[in-house]
Symmetry: C2
Subunit: 328 residues, 2 copies
């Protein structure tokens, strides 16, 4: 059986072929979305390049909420119709996954992923225990990978965590919430825990310090914070990590990922040195009152793998093939 | 096959027998915990009364985190050992469930439960869609009942939501958070959304109004709020429902219970008239910015059934029997 797996990002679309349940490394390729006017055109170019005509199945991960008929990209005017993709590839079996759903499926076998430890617990994670991925990048979201108590294949539970209400504590954060909510009526988690969020937190910190904002992009702010070259960038990064640790801790108490927590996304990766070498994230994660010792039993890792969404699609196809789940 | 199901509450222990997968109505009984010095003594009295000697299985729901060997009650010095219960009942198969885990399993067939609609969505809930229970009573917690995408038996994901950080918005709630956190360092969801929480919110409201606290217990405060006989009780109840709606909305965005949300617990039941007849809970639940229309698609119901934890134990036994899961 030959299947296509694909990860449609904001800028690039990554594709790969799956033979006998394994991702074929030599088939991995990436295309700039701006060079194409439809997703089908990307797939056609990719398959032509490989001389691959017919497929048995496709699994596509994308930053959107798929419907039974296909998906409409949120950040680009691409509409992907299941029927059109079936006509193009001949694949009778096509699956669409939300991007974090795909990340969740990749956690079925995290030992295959490139990771870096962030929080270490005293005990090794139990078998078949829930794993959680959360990510801060363009936006914020999370997903949980559960192993049903009755046995059977893992189940990934999707979420829309970025839209939950940002939990703040104390005077400074009340002022931050007011700044983030200005003109919007509220401050969601994503409003703070994203690239734009880091920029707004930096502007808030600079404003309170009466200093000009020297860094412009979230990448510049993160770099200046890691380098320690900009006092306000350092303060903004630590405020960001305090909020990230608190939100991660709340998600851990809600999803109980005793199998491990995996951090994903551009902002998490950019701030990784501060997550690992300072106590800010860890202390905020564990600051749950008498549950502190309970929180100390969670492992956390940073996901460094760029193929992770594709690997999640491979896992989803394997489960779908085994269970003959209906196309979705 | 004859099984015992049991729900150990803070005051009473409810028990029932299961024959051929059905709860036997005539076998339902309840005992005051104070009349016994151990859970085994309750079971012995119950089985003697029924003239039932041998059991094939037991499932016990209790407000505690069970271990493989048994469970230690949090609110009373009862330790329940799997081995002791096996010796007493002859049951080779014994399961311990956290109380909200049991509530989660009862949602496999909510049409069998006594409920009252709270929020109605335009669309009927899809089949095999996640259901969620959340409850405010002595404490606060939630659980999700998932139907694995690959098919198979439902999976209930337990949680420790009561310990998450209370998400507050605006000046008044910042002051409330400071009051709730006084002497404790932080304010958890449970600190506000529980019987004691309603009392503390009422004291906060009375303090700001410069009025004495006339109602004493959370039941008195809820009754006065529903009757409209105490202005501060009404204000406290609406503040409580605003926080409950927000937390319920955040849990809905995290667990995506498109199959329905079920409210449980003494405080939810006591404030039910205000949940149903005023907009406070609904508006707070849906106040998620551009996700407002998304939030309007969730159904919510109030759980009125006292047998719900027992019914959850019956469902768990059915799944465990089908899947031959290891005793837990």
């Amino acid at each position: 059986m030959t299947a296509l797996v694909s990860d449609i990002g904001g800028t690039n679309t990554r594709l790969g072929l799956v033979e006998d349940g394994q991702l074929v490394a030599s088939s991995l390729d990436s295309f700039a979305n701006d060079d194409f006017d439809s997703y089908e055109a990307v797939v056609e170019t990719y398959l032509d390049r490989l001389g691959q005509r017919r497929l048995d199945a496709c699994c596509i991960a994308l930053a959107a909420a798929p419907t039974p008929d296909g998906a409409q990209l949120t950040n680009r005017d691409w509409t992907i119709a299941r029927t059109g993709l079936q006509a193009l590839t001949g694949a009778p079996f096509i699956g669409f996954l939300n991007d974090f759903e795909a990340l969740g499926y990749s956690l079925i076998a995290p030992e295959r992923l490139e990771t870096q430890p962030v929080l270490a617990s005293a005990m090794p994670p139990p078998l078949r225990a829930t794993r959680m991925v959360l990510g801060a990048g363009t936006g914020f979201n999370a997903a949980a990978c559960h192993w049903p108590a009755s046995g059977g294949a893992p189940h990934v539970a999707a979420a829309e965590c970025g839209h939950t209400t940002l939990a703040i504590e104390g005077e400074e954060e009340c002022a931050l919430q007011a700044a983030l909510a200005a003109g919007r009526g509220r401050a969601s988690v994503e409003r703070a825990l994203s690239g734009n969020g880091l920029r707004e937190i930096y502007a808030f910190v600079c404003g309170r310090a009466g200093r000009p904002c020297r860094a412009q992009t979230s990448a510049e702010i993160a770099a200046a914070a890691v380098a320690g070259s900009d006092e306000q960038a350092v303060a903004a990064a630590h405020l960001f990590l305090r909020l990230l640790g608190r939100v991660a801790g709340d998600l851990a108490l809600t999803l109980l990922p005793h199998g491990g927590i995996y951090l994903y996304g551009g902002v998490c990766r950019a701030l990784a040195p501060l997550i690992v070498t300072t106590d800010t994230f860890r202390d905020a994660f564990r600051a749950k009152g008498r549950m502190g010792p309970f929180m100390a039993d969670f492992d956390a890792h940073l996901l460094l793998d760029d193929r992770i969404a594709l690997i999640g699609c491979v896992e989803w196809l394997r489960i779908a093939a085994v269970s003959r789940a209906c196309p979705r």
